[in-house]
């Protein structure tokens, strides 16, 4: 099919952009650059990809076309053939349909955001490459190609977190992100290789694999599922591999918006959904995933209530929302999770871009305690962010309501009430910290803060995305509200469904909404006008404001012992023992030989005596032998 070629172009355009940009960047001096050309090159690739993605998604949605494109044979092994092949079904097209468009919006936003940065070209090279890898991840027709993209986005994330390389702490954050992601990759890689070893002979594309999962022993199936989820943990910042995400906010804000909120971090959710047929076979692992998701969500929400860095609050909130997605996936409903991914990308991107605009306006100030009363100075931004905040708090009719409520309903109906209650409590916390965020920034004390004007180019993308935040929820309107869950139908994954009466459904919505409103009210009470600093005295709040000391614990548990061990290996084991042993063998030999020179003392009588001794020994020998 001709349209299948388009898959290739989705990958190709951003890559081409990146290549042209890097060549130009290397060989044209800054002063001679044409700004328009650079701007065009920066956004062209992703825009083309966005158009193509939407077109293909439309094709699929309407005509149910699946697309496949085999570029070349990557590896041809004895028992395994890995093609560099792309595949687009409903799932991947769904992903593409927000990755590229949201990406385009953020790219435009970034044009404005990075205007004054001297290495903006480098930024867009990375950004375009990121889009390339993200598309590769989504389009990969087999786990291996997916892993290529998976690794690629990790590297781009590393480079972008460390974008401001003058400061070592940024680089440290980047390294941390890369290393923790690699730990996740360890799991992912082991998982897909176990799959390759067990059933790779029959074909390694996702379709071929899904037909032979049954051949794997249950033990290994569980193992593979857990390993794959470890990969997801790393990429999607779940306990215990989440610590990189808050630090990753060291990168420029568009990066946080695109990579650490909208797209890359959801790759884990996408991957689990991609293997939904596998995960649907291992329910215990699913429950485990759900619990990990639940605790991650709770933990992140708790920490977020005591965080003051504007971007870190959003980072924790991202982690918390990802937790929701894993709860849904763990308990078997993949399309709800993906729907939440979908809506989340819009409202979280809005929030991040808004935060970025505020940061720029306040001359790179990130502490929300030093903000306040911005509502009048940036009204447009306020409303946009308010929409997003309401959406994330799941207030009807914003998109977050539809996606989150579907998940809550599923959690309740699946019978795992503990998870449900955690989710409910987290939902409460979410509303609380989001409105704490809003109140702190836009209301609170009346200090007069100097504000730089925000450029139009920045506001328009935010506006567009906040608009979508309002409407995309209706794509998956539940039956209760007269919809037919078109989104879930389109994806047609291995969803588990529980039938619940409308009464239960309504009461759940009510309970949830009541909690949320209560949270907003509490936040209002506490932060709307209050100027006083929050007391840090209680143990709990200390614990929270230090993020449960997890960084410190990790440091003491892993980093320091590793360094100590390395020191030990180097000094004690290597130099102190092995090398010393070898050297002392050599030097000892020389020492002995020096001792041996005693026999060469120049005395004739000694020499004669030795010779005589030799003859005598020979004689004794012969006597012994002969007699």
């Amino acid at each position: 099919m001709l349209q299948s070629n388009l898959l290739f172009y989705i990958l190709f355009w951003p890559l081409l952009s990146a290549i042209i940009l890097s060549v130009l960047n290397l060989f044209i001096k800054k002063e001679l650059r044409s700004q328009i050309l650079f701007d065009f090159l920066s956004v062209a690739g992703v825009s083309f990809s966005a158009v193509i993605s939407l077109y293909l998604a439309y094709q699929n949605y309407v005509f149910s076309f699946d697309f496949g494109y085999n570029i070349y044979t990557f590896l041809d092994l004895e028992s395994l053939k890995i093609d560099f092949a792309l595949k687009a079904d409903a799932l991947s097209l769904m992903m593409l349909s927000f990755v590229n468009p949201v990406g385009t919006a953020i790219f435009f936003y970034a044009l404005a955001y990075m205007r004054d940065d001297r290495s903006s070209a480098r930024f867009f090279i990375y950004f375009n490459l990121f889009i390339f890898f993200m598309n590769l991840l989504v389009l990969g027709a087999n786990p291996f190609i997916m892993f290529l993209g998976w690794e690629g986005v990790g590297i781009m994330s590393y480079l972008l977190i460390g974008f401001y390389y003058d400061d070592f702490s940024n680089i440290k954050a980047a390294n941390k992100a890369f290393i923790l992601n690699r730990i996740g990759d360890f799991g992912f890689l082991s998982g897909i290789f176990l799959l390759a070893v067990f059933i790779g002979v029959d074909g390694y594309s996702f379709e071929a694999l899904s037909e032979s999962y049954y051949k794997i022993e249950p033990f290994y199936l569980n193992l593979i599922a857990i390993l794959l989820f470890v990969g997801a943990m790393g990429k999607s910042a779940q306990i215990p591999l989440y610590v990189w995400l808050p630090d990753a906010m060291a990168g420029p804000t568009p990066v946080s918006a695109l990579i650490h909120a909208a797209t890359m971090v959801t790759a884990g959710v996408y991957m689990v959904a991609r293997f939904s047929d596998l995960f649907s076979m291992v329910e215990e692992v699913g429950v485990f995933i759900a619990y990990i998701g639940a605790f991650s969500a709770l933990l992140a929400a708790l920490i977020a209530t005591k965080t003051y860095d504007i971007k870190k609050i959003l980072a924790y909130s991202t982690m918390s929302q990802l937790g929701y997605m894993f709860m849904a996936e763990g308990l078997g409903n993949y399309s709800y999770a993906l729907f939440h991914v979908f809506t989340h990308s819009f409202f979280k991107a809005t929030l991040f871009m808004g935060a970025g605009a505020i940061i720029l306006a306040l001359h790179h100030e990130q502490d929300i305690r030093k903000m306040g009363n911005l509502k009048d100075k940036m009204p447009a931004l306020f409303y946009m962010m308010l929409v997003a905040a309401l959406s994330i708090s799941a207030i009807f009719p914003f998109s977050g309501f539809f996606s989150k409520d579907a998940i809550m309903l599923h959690l309740f109906s699946s019978g795992h009430y503990l998870i449900y209650f955690i989710a409910l409590f987290t939902s409460f916390l979410t509303a609380f910290y989001m409105f704490r965020f809003i109140f702190y920034i836009f209301f609170s004390h009346k200090r007069d803060i100097e504000v730089k004007a925000t450029s139009k180019l920045m506001l328009i993308p935010i506006g567009v995305l906040s608009f979508f935040t309002i409407i995309v929820g209706f794509l998956n309107t539940p039956e209760l509200l007269g919809g037919d869950e078109r989104f879930s139908l389109w994806l047609s994954l291995f969803d588990q469904r529980y039938f619940v009466s409308h009464l239960v459904e309504i009461s759940l919505i009510v309970i949830n909404t009541v909690f949320i409103l209560l949270a907003i009210f509490l936040a209002y009470l506490r932060f709307y006008k209050l100027i006083r600093l929050e007391d840090e005295a209680s143990t709990l709040s200390k614990l929270l404001s230090n993020a449960f000391y997890v960084d410190k614990i990790y440091n003491n548990l892993f980093t320091k012992p590793l360094h100590k061990l390395s020191c030990f290996a180097d000094e004690k084991c290597d130099i102190g023992f092995i090398d010393k042993l070898i050297n002392s063998l050599a030097f000892g030999y020389i020492k002995i030989s020096k001792k041996f020179s005693v026999t060469q003392n120049g005395s004739l009588n000694l020499y004669m005596l030795v010779s005589l001794g030799g003859v005598s020994l020979m004689m004794i020998y012969i006597l012994v032998v002969l007699l």
Binding site: S597, Q600, N601, G602, S603, L604, N605, M608
Partner: protein, 103 residues
């Protein structure tokens, strides 16, 4: 009877050995070595006379000739060494010892 001569010459040879190894004067060492050679000569000559061949005698003449040649060299040696150190004590001549050998 030949056995007795054998024993005699072995005794002589051993005497020479002991002398050569234990004495420090070079002349005495030389004489001890000559003693060893002579012991061999006695053995050869007595063998000849007991077993009625003259090969042994011929050999003993050879031995004597060699001893004579050695004597010439030894004489030269005595002179050379005496000129160096005004003494013929072997323990004085150890300048070639290994540098690492302390004693």
């Amino acid at each position: 009877m030949f056995k007795n001569y054998l024993i005699l010459s072995i005794l002589l040879f051993s005497l020479g050995l002991i002398g050569a190894v234990s004495r420090r004067n070079i002349i005495i060492i030389y004489m001890s070595i000559e003693l060893m050679l002579n012991a061999v000569s006695i053995m050869l000559v007595s063998y000849s006379s007991f077993y009625n061949t003259n090969t042994g005698v011929v050999l003993s003449i050879m031995v004597t000739a060699i001893a004579a040649a050695e004597a010439a060299l030894f004489m030269a040696l005595f002179v050379t060494l005496y000129r160096k150190k005004k003494s013929l004590d072997t323990s004085l001549f150890n300048s070639l010892k290994d540098t690492n050998a302390t004693k």
